[in-house]
């Protein structure tokens, strides 16, 4: 177990490796429905979240649907 530094939605965040995208979403208490993730600017399908692990200095962007016209 090592600590790594990732960037989540432009905020630096220290996490313990190994950590998958599923675990990151759970850690941040984000609803899975209506959420999409891009890791290092590439979209990761929901079905791959549990097998996609974060590395040091990865950039993660988490998007969700909100009110809009």
């Amino acid at each position: 177990m090592t600590q790594i530094k990732v960037n989540v939605n432009n905020q630096p965040m220290n996490v313990i490796s190994p950590i998958s995208l599923s675990e990151l979403v759970a850690l941040k208490q984000i609803n899975v429905d209506g959420t999409a993730i891009a890791k290092n600017a590439a979209i990761v399908s929901k079905r791959d979240w549990s097998t996609t692990y974060l590395n040091d200095n990865d950039t993660v962007d988490i998007f969700t649907l909100v009110a809009g016209g």
Partner: protein, 256 residues
């Protein structure tokens, strides 16, 4: 019935979910509007436990979700936003909007056409927000869009059908549904658009910012239905001179 990409919808009023004071009011307004299709936007998650309740409320209503690409400044960003919304919802519907200029939020026609072409090829049902340009609307139709969404006036401006003469040309030429998006401020304007023969209208600000959004949603629903009914009934011709409705017999004049 409104048909978009082989799907049929009973309502011709699409509703946007922005600017409501809360998700409960939004849900009641969408319900009163009887809308089957409702728009959403995509954004980065702000912080823990601060999630928008909009999606949950809309899931409960069982409406078709139409995520938009608002915030995209070019075709590449719009395609990325559409792909994100596909991953988020598993839905192929997308309201394509690319408006780099913040003051008027006018859609970029070149980037919109480029993005539309790409998204159609990727299998999306593309509904592009666009200027009321009949030539552009034909081009968007040619690349396979499910509908065109020309503006009546700038987004959120409540200025009504400033583009009316061009909307008429678009309706005349289109073989795909025409949905007037943006600018409609009053039920009477929605009705006027429907009388003109557009297939549907999208209303957000006029409902969300009304003193009573639920009552206003209901008013828009009636107006859209009435306007459509009038269009289907076939409006009478206009004339520059009077054309008598009563027989012009001279029965009041003394008989000879």
């Amino acid at each position: 019935m409104l048909t978009l990409a082989k799907h049929t919808f009973s309502s011709r009023l699409l509703t946007g979910t922005g600017k409501f004071s809360n998700a409960t009011t939004m849900k009641s307004a969408v319900s009163a509007a009887q809308s089957n299709i409702v728009t959403l936007a995509m954004k980065r998650v702000a912080s823990n436990n601060a999630q928008d309740e909009t999606l949950k409320a809309l899931r409960e209503l069982g409406v078709t979700l139409l995520p938009n690409t608002s915030g995209a400044k070019n075709a590449q960003e719009a395609v990325f936003a559409a792909e994100l919304s596909y991953e988020a919802l598993g839905s192929q519907w997308v309201k394509l909007e690319i408006h780099p200029d913040q003051r008027y939020l006018l859609p970029d026609p070149i980037e919109t056409l480029r993005a539309a072409e790409t998204l159609v090829k990727k299998g999306f049902n593309v509904l592009p927000y666009c200027g009321a340009d009949p030539v552009l609307c034909k081009r968007l139709e040619d690349v396979g869009c499910a509908a065109v969404m020309p503006l009546g006036a700038p987004i959120g401006s409540n200025q009504g059908l400033q583009t009316a003469p061009f909307l008429k040309i678009i309706v005349e030429q289109a073989s795909i549904p025409v949905i007037v998006d943006a600018g409609i401020g009053k039920p009477s304007e929605a009705m006027a658009a429907m009388e003109m023969g557009v297939d549907a209208v999208l209303v957000n600000t006029a409902i969300a910012t009304a003193r009573n959004p639920v009552a206003m949603a209901k008013a828009f629903a009636s107006a859209v239905e009435t306007g459509r009914c009038a269009f289907e009934a076939g409006l009478g011709a206009t004339s520059n001179v009077a054309l008598a409705s009563s027989p012009l017999t001279a029965f009041l004049e003394p008989t000879v």
